[in-house]
Symmetry: C2
Subunit: 389 residues, 2 copies
């Protein structure tokens, strides 16, 4: 794991739970050395279930492990002067600091960007917070659930007339981690040119706005407020999930040629000549009729059979895979998207891989485990020339 | 917009619709010059509604505009030798090429990475495709809908027992754009150290696996296949959307202290002493009782009143904003997350801003518009020293 574009860089990870730790994980995956600086009680996520229990009886959070693999850990109480000295010695060597406290916490500790920038002019200071460090909500706490609700994606997800629906993963945290990492990487590039560090300020709410995509364009163009659409696409048909004899499948026949091929597979060659279905605008206008005729055609065979026939004709389609299906999918496995971390207590634990495949670097199928809390203290202090206590 | 960490870099954007164009948009936002190389008929997204119509009667896709602002455009038919010469002249000057064809299309055109890497050794070649360029599905087409279904997120989104539910924005495309941009930025940094370009290969399906987060950890730890949870969090309560007198609100009282404060606001001071609700594990065990008691308490006041009271006590909570609410939110506006592009035909058009706030660079509130198809041909040919036809 030491090989990667960011090999040789030192990242201090003062983050907890998900958004910040995931940004730091991407730095690990790209070759950086990441030291996780935890409070004495450790990252809260160490206590989030479910837990994996080893043969020796040791139980560890599967959630924590998957987001903190390959990092080192040192526990520091930033209110104590001896621990502040350690952080300051680390800052002298660090290239990047990532924190995800709410706005103003680092200032209160004396480690806000304004305090650090003159002392560590090459440091890249990345803050991943709920609302960013400016504006009226800067000091408010946030969770994924909060920004999914405030940022509009919850108003677009679900079925018309149904209850609110959260995206089933913490997309509020994860997109902030991704935009944050883009910011860090671009600032590192910038520093190569200028020698100067800078602050990267990413707010989770902002990131939700950035991924609203065509919902903003629709609202701006028409004044109509977009609502949830189930599995439907707002302007392309057929492009949705459909029930077969057994399971649902997705069919994405996004243009007239694909629609004709799909109609043939479903045994309804006449559909492309039916004025209700001949063009995409006509199909959108007669969407209920189209969907009900499609589902009536699809009841005759199982999901598996339909997928085989649709694929053979080149019609984009997919099963709705659950997590077990995903983890056994031949493409997912061929792409090394399920890797194992070898934990000293638990043995190999499967987790998500890295989707950024770089031609120059190996994409190993095994990763170093997540650290024990404070597990690298003595090694780190020795490197810093500080006595261990 | 010329200012940013990637100022001075030339990016060739051979992409269409969403995933690739969005990665190239991030390069624009970070200061790069991006030339969009379109087929003679233009990016398909130019024909995706809804359209904004100017006073002069010109109609343009709001969707296309928001993803392609600030780029230049030249239309090239890569099967014609004169146009291939133009692309090759551009490649001589380019730092990055981004393409989102399905695996093997660029090889067929003679512009695969293997063909380019010796001729353009400093080039960073970024492919954002449905399934990546290796593995059994490499040549298959994909859409956002397809990878949302295959990648597992659809199995986690929605309500238990309900129909499948798509995430309401194209998260399959957008996460691939984000991981792709992280890859590009890291490869640019690497090139500063080594002088060498490389290929960045990002598959949309892989990116879906990478954002499954605790669903994989839950499955690995327990063997239970996670399903959809509505708005609930899998292991924290109360952490969901709740109905008030009028609208739903989100309450994320993620620990005992917050639960006690929330109980006080709801006029149910006794809840923290109720053995069913005293701890998070107890609340998870008695979730139905907790939710129904909370909703019965919440019916007394409107969403707005409850949010005011919960906020005053520091309990994380949020309205479920629709797109109109989001675009009027004071924090969203203060963070410059709604910007305008000044289109020559339409005037200022509002769209999403850039969530990566860098301390060294201005975050302007106005952006250059998206280009006309082939609108920069003569300027580009002149720069290349090629005659315009």
């Amino acid at each position: 794991m030491s090989a990667g574009p960011f090999a040789g860089l030192l990242v201090l990870d003062l983050t907890r739970v998900l958004a910040g730790p995931h940004a730091a994980l991407m730095m690990v995956e790209l070759g950086a050395r990441v030291i996780k600086i935890e409070p004495p009680e450790g990252d809260d996520a160490r206590r989030y279930g479910p837990f994996v229990t080893g043969e020796n009886g040791v139980a560890k959070s599967g959630y924590f492990m998957s987001i903190n693999r390959g990092k080192e850990s040192i526990a520091l109480d930033l209110k104590k002067s001896e621990d502040r000295k350690i952080l300051e010695a680390l800052l002298m060597r660090a290239d990047v600091l990532i924190e995800n406290y709410r706005g103003c916490t680092m200032e209160k500790l004396g480690y806000g960007w304004e305090s650090l920038k003159d002392k560590y002019p090459r440091l890249i200071y990345a803050a991943v917070s709920g609302f960013g460090h400016t504006g009226p909500y800067a000091a408010r706490p946030a969770y994924d659930m909060v920004v999914q609700a405030m940022g509009g994606i919850m108003s677009l997800t679900g079925h018309p007339g149904g209850p609110p629906t959260r995206v089933g993963t913490s997309i509020g945290d994860l997109t902030a981690a991704l935009f944050g990492t883009v910011g860090i990487a671009s600032a590192l590039y910038d520093r190569e040119k200028t020698g100067r560090g800078q602050k990267v300020d990413v707010g989770m709410l902002d990131c939700q706005v950035a991924i609203l995509e065509n919902a903003i364009a629709r609202y701006v163009a028409t004044g109509d407020v977009p609502g949830p659409l189930g599995t439907r696409h707002p302007s392309i048909a057929p492009f949705a999930a459909f029930k077969t004899k057994d399971d649902y499948i997705v069919i994405a026949a996004g243009n007239d040629a694909l629609f004709a091929r799909m109609s043939k597979v479903l045994g309804r060659e006449e559909w492309p000549r039916d004025p209700r279905f001949a063009t995409n605008p006509a199909r959108i206008e007669h969407l209920d009729a189209l969907h009900s005729e499609m589902e009536s055609a699809l009841t005759g065979r199982t999901a598996k059979e339909w997928l085989r026939r649709l694929e053979a004709e080149g019609v984009p389609c997919a099963p709705i895979n659950n997590i077990a299906d995903v983890m056994a999918d031949p493409q997912v496995l061929a792409r090394n998207m399920i890797v194992t971390a070898d934990d000293p207590d638990l043995g190999p634990v499967r987790m998500q891989g890295n989707p950024i495949k770089l031609s120059v670097y190996d994409d190993l199928s095994s990763r170093p485990a997540a650290p024990e809390l404070d597990g690298d203290r003595s090694k780190i202090l020795k490197e810093l020339g500080l006595a261990s206590d």
